[in-house]
Symmetry: C2
Subunit: 105 residues, 2 copies
DNA sequence: GTATTTTGTTACCTTTCGTAACTTAATATA
DNA sequence: TATATTAAGTTACGAAAGGTAACAAAATAC
């Protein structure tokens, strides 16, 4: 069986460090840069990079509020919200099968 | 909201290059090293590494057949087969939302 | 003019990844 | 006996991705 290019692309997207967590974070609603960053230990550099990638893929939109200091809010598009099924499946599997602090026996 | 350690661990597992594709490949049934490798352009070095990680997590089992030349077969455990829900969700999302060869508008 | 705050960006170093040559082990062939 | 064959790795080395911490921009308050 040869691999479907769409699935390959999805895998390469989600198979990047932090991407899943960024999407999961945004499933709770629109958030600004600093809020996402506070959710897990990603560096500012990488968060910028990941958000740019997700924006390029039409998964996230970026809105700048010209306040002082500036506020930038990131929101999932419909395409992004559809990833809820994937994130949900991961959470379900994690709760069913993972033990933290040790390896599987 | 603070992140559940199980979900964090799952994300860090699946958020590694090739891991999702290795699991997807093995969902079709047990396969030997070379068969998995033929499924997508992963290097032997990385495939060894990923399979070792998945084995350490109890997601995959490794069986050596002392034939000539040697045959090594990898099989998903029940924990591994449970990832079918995750892989399935990714495939579904990919078919619903991705276009190959161009970016989202 | 200086301080403050958020959202990046840059420089620099470390870790991970990719490639290609090599190793091992058991047999078959010359 | 020597050489070839084959699958499954392993190793060395250069390239790409990731982490850290200092810096920049922009607009306002002091």
């Amino acid at each position: 069986m040869n691999l479907c290019p769409k699935v390959e692309k999805a895998m390469q997207l989600l198979g990047k460090r932090w991407t899943g967590l960024v999407v999961k974070q945004l499933l709770d609603g629109p958030q600004r840069f600093s809020e996402i960053k506070a959710g897990f230990p990603i560096s500012g550099k990488l968060l910028t990079e990941r958000l740019k990638e997700l924006e390029d893929e039409g998964i996230v939109t970026r809105k700048v509020y010209a306040e002082v200091p500036v506020r930038v809010e990131y929101t999932l598009t419909e395409k992004g919200r559809a990833l809820q099924s994937v994130i949900g499946a991961i959470e379900h599997w994690a709760h069913d099968w993972l033990e933290v602090g040790e390896h599987a026996q």
